[in-house]
Subunit: 414 residues, 2 copies
């Protein structure tokens, strides 16, 4: 089956609205996108209004404008964040607006900016954005992320191709991994999310208390938080709307215990953080905290990252992704976490998701931490899975069992 790019964009927009953000009739939508994605933005806006949106507020950003701030902004400008804007978004979400973002960042945009400057700016933005981060990590409203190529990003993924061809090829990878090229994308997506949901139910039944990752450069024990819950596939926001928070998604994920992670771990893919690349991470953990960290590329960026606050050197998420999944099959290294984290098992430094702990909302902040929940301005996923990684689990129901061998599920259910 061959469709025009315009037809694929229209289908992608439908998937984003109905399978991603799950927009409810009469709901307001806040859509964040770089101006480079204008054609897709317009399809999404049309689909949202056709589906009864009360309003679609597009928050356009321009990466060059962001760069100009780093190039010509005063020290004051670097350390300033527009709290009034984050407060406004929070107000909208509190009025039940849904959130959809189209990700297209150039992974290397801030290559020439000093990591110190970026860390200062990111911290200021992170503090100002806290009310928004809490809406998202607390799953108060339905939200979703999708991707779209930009020239800078496409050239990094396909450096040997002219930019137009690189863009076409990255579009293909994005539409393929998002299942938009299927004959009925939404139906295929729904089935896929149901399958992931069955997998996380299976894991929850096992009552896992600890994961053990082993492979080249990795021997990591990740104790799970008290009352940790696995999630995957559909997300159920507190406003009652069911959504798919990431397109694509291939993961099941849960909450590590902030004080119970030990051992060494090596990254299996590079990642882009704050417009800079980091590669070949090695980290050691003791009682939950990073005690040693190095990287072959972007080490200063990595070190600044874990210095953000005390929670930045502890884990907030651990996720399992089989090596045979669709994103991994695409054989594309995306340099973008939305895709790469769905091609490999991963962990995240920083803030946890409240949905990964049963009864989270009813616990005091103190009790949340004591039970293993982690808090931070950051939440940065990085990939530790591959076809060479095994995962074992301590369970309450069956003792110690194998979950993954050579990156594939060993559970009977699947």
């Amino acid at each position: 089956m061959s469709r025009s790019h315009q037809e694929n964009l229209a289908l992608y927009a439908k998937l984003a609205i109905h399978g991603g953000v799950g927009l409810a009739k009469g709901q307001e939508l806040i859509l964040r996108s770089d101006i480079q994605n204008l054609p897709l933005v317009r399809y999404v806006v049309e689909e949202a209004y056709r589906s009864g949106a009360k309003n679609v507020q597009v928050i356009f950003v321009d990466e060059k404008v962001g760069l100009l701030r780093y190039e010509f902004g005063s020290d004051e400008a670097i350390e300033y964040a527009p709290g009034w804007l984050y407060n406004a978004l929070t107000e909208a979400y509190n009025q039940n607006a849904a959130s959809l973002a189209i990700i297209s960042d150039d992974p290397n945009l801030l290559k020439s900016v000093s990591p110190d400057k970026i860390a200062k700016s990111s911290k200021a933005q992170g503090i100002a954005a806290l009310p928004v981060s809490e809406v998202i990590s607390g799953f108060k409203i339905n939200w979703s992320l999708i991707g779209a190529p930009s020239p800078g990003w496409a050239k990094l993924v396909f450096p040997d191709l002219p930019v137009d061809e690189a863009m076409d090829k990255l579009w293909h990878s994005i539409l393929y991994t998002s299942r938009v090229l299927e004959s009925d994308p939404l139906e295929t997506w729904n089935k896929h999310c149901n399958t992931l949901e069955a997998k996380k139910d299976e894991l929850n039944k096992l009552q896992i208390t600890e994961l053990h990752f082993t492979g080249p450069g990795t021997d990591l024990t990740v104790g799970l938080a008290n009352n940790a819950v696995w999630q995957g596939g559909w997300g159920y926001a507190k406003n009652g709307v069911k959504c798919g928070p990431n397109i694509p998604t291939e993961e099941v994920f849960t909450m590590p215990h902030r004080s119970n992670v030990n051992g060494v771990v090596s990254s299996t893919k590079p990642l882009s953080v704050r417009g800079q690349l980091i590669d070949k991470i090695q980290m050691e953990f003791e009682s939950g905290a990073v005690t040693k960290a190095s990287a072959s590329v972007g080490e200063e960026t990595l070190l600044k990252l874990i210095e953000t606050d005390p929670g930045a050197r502890r884990l907030g998420e651990v996720a399992l992704v089989p090596d045979s999944c669709l994103v991994s099959q695409s054989k594309t290294l995306f340099f973008n976490t939305l895709y790469d984290e769905n091609a490999a098992s991963h962990i995240a430094l920083g803030r946890c998701y409240s949905e990964n702990m049963e009864g989270f909302e009813n616990l005091s902040k103190e009790k949340q931490l004591e039970d293993g929940a982690n808090d931070s301005l950051i939440h940065v996923d990085w990939m530790i899975g591959s076809s060479q990684i095994d995962v074992a689990a301590k369970t309450k129901s069956q003792g110690t069992i194998s979950l993954m061998k050579n990156g594939e599920w060993t559970l009977e259910g699947h």
Copy 2:
């Protein structure tokens, strides 16, 4: 002298920041623009940061996204306005952010939308935007408007040219009337604003109580508000910053008395309001209020406009512009009020500017109205001047005198 377009854009950005918004060091700037003006936006952002801006928050809009709301939005969507966004802008202005907008609207964008739908939407937006309108009309912060061509606009102004040539020609008209093509644009601009300031001082000394416009289809007496003050050239915002609120500007303007306008008046140029054209307006006023209104084009839009609220059928501004001024000399009909109102004397239906009444802030709302100040959700300027219009004035200092003959100043000072 011949400069490249890029050089002109950089100079235009400098003029906008220093001669327009008058950005103070350390001040935040809110820059509103259609995404079509991206190259100019980036020059303005760079100039703002180079001048010590604390932050430049670009609020990008896309006219097609606006159109999609009208095309596919539910009744609920048409009558909804995102109050949270207007509140946020108000918060930023209250924290002393400056405002700059780049105007590029297609004057005919909403041609095929029913005036009733537009009126409903505009009213909802106007109500939600009231806090912002009050910041602007109360001159609480420094603000400015500049223009940039868009394809839809350029094709309307130069319908016989291919779109690229029409864009080039409209760029030329805009840069010419904004004095950017001068050898030292900022210096020329400063002198020009000083000249306008001298003119308004001259008019203030006359202590004018009433204006009388006569010409083809026009015999209109405009009584001025008590303690009316003429303004022109520089604006002095209440945050202490001097700015040029419009680029270009050719007007001196003051406050009519909301209850003391009588006679008939005819428009001398078409205008675009809310994405629709209106032409050949005829209006009759009695005791300040419109009693009859017609138009050869867009009559329904005009009638909806003056039905917005009681203040929408009364005047908030009267301005004098000589026919020999630069914008008029450009012989371009812009279909855009920023330019056309600076090519001809004009009046505005709706909200007044507080700077046009001495002691405005110290008066109760009731006393403001009694003294002649007008309040409304709208402020719509339309052109009533031309080379065929004479203007006389009743003054306290010299009795009845001629101000303009055949559209030109008759005062000795100029």
